[in-house]
Symmetry: C2
Subunit: 228 residues, 2 copies
DNA sequence: TGATATAGTGTATATATCACACTATGGAGG
DNA sequence: CCTCCATAGTGTGATATATACACTATATCA
């Protein structure tokens, strides 16, 4: 069965920049293509948008196929240069996702040979304009962590202040003063001290905190603005 | 001639939220549709994206047809709910534009009966999800004028500090302190005092300023951040 | 028990923000 | 030409925020 139109139509895809953090590096999930063009090359995970599903549904479907679920997901930008795909016109709506690396065990989706995490400072060559998409995503993340508490999406449910600080330093690509950072985040009153401490570390164990999402929503309604 | 594909494909359009400012109100340019569905209803200016043109080219083409040229234009968001258009699936990439009202004389584009400016607080009912698109654009504008000097795109090339202040008050929907505002903007050193003053006003004439784009680019390279 | 690795803490200074009210000037109108 | 009117243009003190900076505390391990 075919579908006919009076004018040529672009294909519509979604591509996802999935960020993870492993205590050291910011990482991105890539897949190795199994199909031409560029079979064997690394690419962002993505898929065609089905005619009955929303863009976000398509993005979540692709992520789910790779075993990535329950993630923060946000539309990033639409990339549509007429020649970005050599075959035909393909318009892609890029999303970015933030996942807790510890809880993910990724697998290749059906149209990929392989899936793997790469540190952002050590990415392989990528197909199409996927490098530009990643640049855009990194800029967005860098800007957004300063005024929305989304960085917590990259950490395990309980985390130390040092982990949080390192995450900010990695995303912002700049050192952060320990005492000032701690004072600022603690006085915001968005962290809940669990009473638990780190385990299995060869030094003084740090306190573990949780981000208090409901308190944030409450404060936000009253006009509070997160800022770091 | 028809074009056939193995899977159904969405139509791709761009829609533009064109902002103008008339010393009193923030306005948006709307068109009255001449075609079904919803002939006679008001809508955002928009058009189908041709297969060989980029999204921004399509948006500029539509604006040009209405006599709107040389405008600040930025991609806003992609709206693609499967049922947003009753006929078939239409994915629209929304752009927003900032224009100097004084220099524009708008006309209806070929697929419209009429084009007119509406104050944002007094918009007619709109077709499809165009109200949601406008909401998104207003939020973006409100956020962005605080950290990028784009508000100047809405003013004539020479303007008074009072005009600038009123523009900010209108966009931010909040009063601004005159002395603090003037100090802040003046110490940023981005305004060039032309030496000219207002004409034909029945009171003390205010000094006219220009925004110094090249100085801004220079400072930005050195790490300067605009903030108001 | 001491070496090591990281946790956790306070203060002084500089900068930015905020609140606030009067004088200056040019045109209009009598 | 004098007065009125409307808006332009200006400064200061109080408070809050940002920044720079170094030592003590504690758990583990050898």
């Amino acid at each position: 069965m075919t579908y006919a139109y009076q004018h040529p139509r672009a294909a519509l895809t979604v591509d996802c920049v999935v960020f993870g953090f492993d205590e050291r590096d910011l990482k991105i999930l890539l897949v190795q293509r199994d199909l031409e063009p560029f079979a064997g090359a690394w690419a962002l995970p993505g898929c065609l948008v089905r005619v009955e599903e929303s863009l976000e549904e398509a993005a979540r479907r692709e992520l789910e196929e790779m075993g990535v679920v329950k993630v923060y997901l946000e539309q990033l930008y639409t990339f549509a240069e007429p020649d970005r795909d050599p075959r035909e016109r393909v318009v892609t709506v890029a999303y970015y996702a933030l996942v807790k690396l510890s809880s993910q065990r990724v697998k290749a989706s059906t149209d990929a040979r392989n899936a793997a995490w790469f540190a952002v400072c050590d990415l392989p060559c990528l197909v199409f304009d996927h490098e530009a998409i990643i640049d855009t995503a990194r800029q967005r993340l860098k800007a957004k962590v300063r005024y929305e508490p989304i960085a917590f999406e990259l950490l395990p449910p309980m985390f130390t202040l040092t982990q949080l600080q390192h995450l900010y330093e990695t995303i912002l690509e700049a050192p952060v003063d320990k005492r000032n950072f701690r004072r600022k985040i603690v006085t915001m009153n968005l962290l809940f001290e669990t009473g638990e401490i780190e385990r299995d570390v060869a030094h003084r164990a740090a306190r573990l905190y949780r981000f208090d999402e409901s308190k944030y929503k409450q404060l936000k309604k009253k006009g509070f603005n997160f800022e770091l």
